[in-house]
Symmetry: C2
Subunit: 194 residues, 2 copies
């Protein structure tokens, strides 16, 4: 497993979200949580597979790396970027193999996996669906108050995690607003029933 | 794990080769060994992932299925078909995810993975690089003396295993022939040194 770039002390009773950006050589990972309305950074890093090894052993390294992160931080959900396009079948196949390691490690630990399109992630982080890699890197650092360099792979992983936090918070607000409306509609009936 | 279609009693001191034909829903597997010059069938079957489950849980089922086969038969090598082309990025990605499960299970059990192109496998089994699926199915059944229906996924897995056995036997013969030639070249020197 690669070095952990930055770790922030974590409080209890918060659900950490693990974002993963899989790759056959470098897999980025990052954990965030929501504290009130505030996003908090927990940790991020990369898993660097040895280029000298064969594909199967590299996948084993990636799986072990993600397993270690899950065991250490016990995330409540795993978030991944959906993949629609690829340069060619070979790169899609290799990406799939690495991606499978993240999905397997999540399933083995009974953690639900959510997938978001690149556009959804960019909108959640930068507010703009065509944001560049550099814009995502800068915005992730700014949102999480990170100082110092942030690896692009780790930034992409944190961005996927942030997207999941936003989506969940949005769905929670929708559920509350629906519940409020439902109560308001029920009110006259309750009155009439008296 | 899916049902084991056919199992043949196995003798000691032989190295079983596990062929795997991964798929996001159905993964075929088959084990063969070489007894003298004779190919022997050990077992074959399929791992059927539940279509009702999410991708991550299906991958978990595939990984568990391959793990079970490895634990039960302790193969000495794993053989897979190389993938060069795909209909689209999505299918290559899903195939990669399933394929990663076979590679990971092999690496976790310190078993080397060999990959062969579809043409190499067809030539090894049918003697013809453009053989059809049905020809492979029939030829695998004939080579291994199997009676009854053989699933296409299991046949493809057995074909990959047979290709590895052939390749290994061929390499062993080359090594012997090289050793013989080397001795023959050394002979005059030995004579002159007396």
């Amino acid at each position: 497993m690669g070095p952990v770039a930055q770790t922030t002390a974590r409080r209890a009773n918060r659900e950490a979200i693990l974002g993963v950006d899989p790759g056959s050589l470098t897999t980025g990972w990052g954990l965030v949580e929501l504290e009130g309305n505030q996003l908090r950074h927990i940790a991020n890093g990369i898993i660097a597979a040895s280029a000298a090894l064969g594909q199967a052993d590299r996948l084993h390294q990636i799986h072990c790396g993600i397993e270690n992160v899950i065991k250490q931080y016990r995330p409540g959900a795993v978030s991944l970027e959906k993949v629609f396009f690829s340069h060619n079948a070979q790169s899609a196949l290799k990406l799939g193999q690495a991606r499978g390691m993240a999905m397997l490690a999540a399933a083995q630990n009974q953690i639900a996996v959510s997938e978001y399109s690149a556009t959804e992630i960019k909108v959640a982080v930068v507010g703009y669906g065509h944001a560049s890699k550099e814009q995502i890197q800068k915005m992730v650092s700014a949102l999480l108050g990170l100082r110092g360099a942030l690896r692009a792979d780790a930034a992409d992983a944190l961005a996927a995690a942030i997207c999941h936090v936003h989506r969940r918070a949005y769905q929670a607000r929708i559920a509350v607003s629906r519940a409020v409306k439902a109560n308001w509609r029920d009110y006259p009936k309750i009155v009439l029933k008296r």
